[in-house]
């Protein structure tokens, strides 16, 4: 993002526009013609529905209802956030999103960092291993969810149960991974990490390769051991990459939907319900577009808050360096 603001600042003419000064060619007509198709798409399919979400959330709206939408004010929000009859479900979903983020973000980032560090060594066969770790990234999430649903099959014959039984010499299991409220969310978390780690890995790998080699040489001359090098060269060098990866993964955690819809339908006993899952089921199964829109608006505020925190952290880092 910083590149954007910088270039905007440079490109913005200080004095009355002089073609030479900004170095940019002036051509209003072509520029608008080039910008218009995308602008129309964004306006129609992003800006309008976004504004509409706010409006809908203040109304009682049902699809195919004989009555037009009626004004409700903040009633939808009050019900979602305060009403004892409804709020439990929303907070449960939010809690699940937070739990998901609290496990996936650190574990997946640490795993991806470990994979990247292993792959960054000058050994033969690294591209093959990279292929293996990256492969799940190209799998559609719907398919991953189906395969893992079978892997999590209950009973001794389930693939994961059989593997755990073998590795523990018969001491552990079998578990009803997706049927037990205690293990359903962890099960969704594990398959999500499996699918997502490879993407983080290649981003971190690119970050590692961007750290100047002479920094490591200087550290070696200072007789810094491997741990000190990791602590004082690698981690600071990866700082921005890691912040970026952490923030993207956090937002992804709040978007959680596909896996839950396919594997557990939010259950058992709401153990895997999420904010987005509720938005969809409220709009769809309960035919309550108004309340679903209110959930959507709350979802957006969460994402916005995360993004603003990210910007602030990155900016502070730049001021320091």
């Amino acid at each position: 993002m910083s590149t954007t603001t910088q270039t905007t600042r440079q490109a913005r003419p200080l004095a009355p526009p002089q073609k030479r000064r900004s170095g940019l060619h002036r051509d209003d007509r072509a520029a608008w013609a080039m910008f218009l198709p995308a602008a129309a798409g964004l306006l129609l399919f992003v800006v309008v529905p976004f504004v509409m979400a706010g409006w809908l959330s203040l109304h009682n709206v049902r699809l195919d209802a004989p009555t037009p939408p009626s004004w409700m004010g903040l009633e939808q929000y009050r019900r979602i956030l305060l009403d004892p009859d409804f709020r439990g479900e929303f907070y449960r979903g939010l809690l699940n999103n937070v739990l998901f983020a609290a496990v996936v973000v650190p574990v997946q980032t640490a795993l991806a960092l470990a994979l990247a560090l292993l792959l960054n060594r000058p050994l033969r066969g690294m591209p093959v291993f990279r292929t293996f770790f990256f492969m799940p990234v190209v799998f559609p999430m719907a398919l991953v969810a189906v395969v893992w649903k079978v892997i999590y099959a209950r009973g001794e014959l389930g693939m994961l149960n059989a593997a755990i039984d073998t590795l523990s010499f018969g001491h552990l299991g079998p578990y009803d991974w997706l049927g037990d409220p205690g293990t359903a969310l962890p099960a969704v978390i594990i398959m999500s990490i499996w699918q997502g780690a490879g993407l983080q890995m290649v981003i971190i790998l690119a970050g590692l390769q961007g750290i100047p080699a002479d920094l490591y040489e200087a550290a070696s001359l200072d007789r810094a051991g491997r741990w000190l090098q990791f602590r004082h060269v690698t981690l600071p060098g990866l700082r921005n990459t890691l912040i970026f990866v952490v923030m993207v993964t956090t937002i992804l955690a709040f978007r959680l939907f596909d896996q839950v819809y396919i594997m557990t339908q939010g259950g058992p006993q709401q153990a895997t319900t999420t904010v987005m899952y509720q938005a969809v089921t409220t709009a769809f199964d309960a035919n309550n577009v108004g309340r679903a829109s209110a959930i959507t608006v709350l979802f957006f505020l969460i994402v916005l808050a995360i993004t603003l925190v990210q910007r602030r952290v990155l900016r502070e880092d730049r001021e320091v360096s």
């Binding site: 709206v61 291993f129 978007r255 396919i262």
Partner: protein, 276 residues
């Protein structure tokens, strides 16, 4: 690096590789086994009695208007993905060029708006969009039209175009080339990496798109692959061999393209991250 460290590195890599590959192997092997033997403990990895029966059985199952045709799932996914990718490349690169390399009234406001819209995930607008477009359910165009213009793609193009050297562009201008000609003849050929990045990102996102079809498609004939497999796996009695066969066919083209253009995939996704 010492011998021991090398050995330990390979050991760790191999153990991790097994974890990452096992589900994929299970999918492929399971698709070849009789359905009753897919959920069979670790024997699920043993391709006993292997045959292509699940494939023919699955194709035979999706062969009526009531179930939808497998061919139609495929063509829907293909159509939607092609339009979103190709249309998106054209529309978003043009918009980014106007923002990055031209001076015009309203440019700064337009740029700010696009950057602001990159924060907005599709999930934040899915419900109102579903309400607005409810009359267009089950059409093809409703599956691709909302995704052609993309603030994130414009942003990726923009970041690339801003960094391009000015000389060639100016030379073309001096030779009398107009804005359109300069863009298509000079800028586009110089920008293959960013076109590859946007192609790959938008291809993967669209091929796997799930939330929107769940909301907008209920006719079997109009289902894209991810929705079709989700419906398939939810209908008892479960025929896991056939479901896995469906899965293999769904991911196969992506895997082939990935293995052939692997370097592009990895570089694209890695670089898209670093631009943030």
């Amino acid at each position: 690096m010492s011998r021991l460290r090398t050995t330990l590195t390979y050991l760790a890599l191999t153990a991790l590789a097994i974890v990452f590959v096992a589900p994929v192997a299970y999918l492929v092997i399971g698709s070849l086994k009789p359905s009753g033997e897919v959920i069979d403990g670790l024997a699920g990895f043993v391709p006993e009695n292997a045959s292509l029966q699940n494939y023919s059985g699955m194709l035979g199952r999706f062969d009526s208007p009531a179930t939808g045709y497998f061919r139609d799932f495929y063509l829907t996914s293909l159509l939607v993905t092609s339009v979103v990718v190709a249309g998106g490349l054209l529309v978003n690169s043009m918009a980014a060029y106007a923002l990055a390399r031209l001076r015009w009234r309203g440019r700064d406001a337009a740029l700010l708006t696009v950057v602001a819209l990159t924060i907005l995930p599709f999930e934040a607008i899915a419900v109102p969009l579903f309400y607005l477009l409810n009359d267009h359910r089950n059409t093809y165009y409703i599956q691709y039209l909302p995704f052609v213009a993309s603030a994130f793609s414009i942003y990726l193009f923009y970041s690339f175009f801003v960094g391009l050297p000015r000389e060639l562009e100016e030379a073309a201008r001096i030779d009398g080339a107009g804005t359109w000609r300069t863009f298509f003849r000079i800028i586009v050929p110089m920008s293959k990496p960013v076109f590859a990045t946007v192609t790959i990102l938008s291809f993967l996102t669209t091929w796997g798109s799930f939330l929107w079809p769940v909301m907008m498609v209920d006719q079997p004939q109009r289902r894209p692959l991810p929705l079709a497999i989700a419906v398939f796996q939810g209908q008892p009695p479960y025929d896991w061999g056939q479901i896995f066969a469906f899965g293999v066919l769904m991911v196969l083209p992506v895997l082939v393209v990935f293995l052939v253009f692997q370097r592009w995939f990895v570089q694209s996704l890695a670089s898209s991250g670093l631009k943030g």
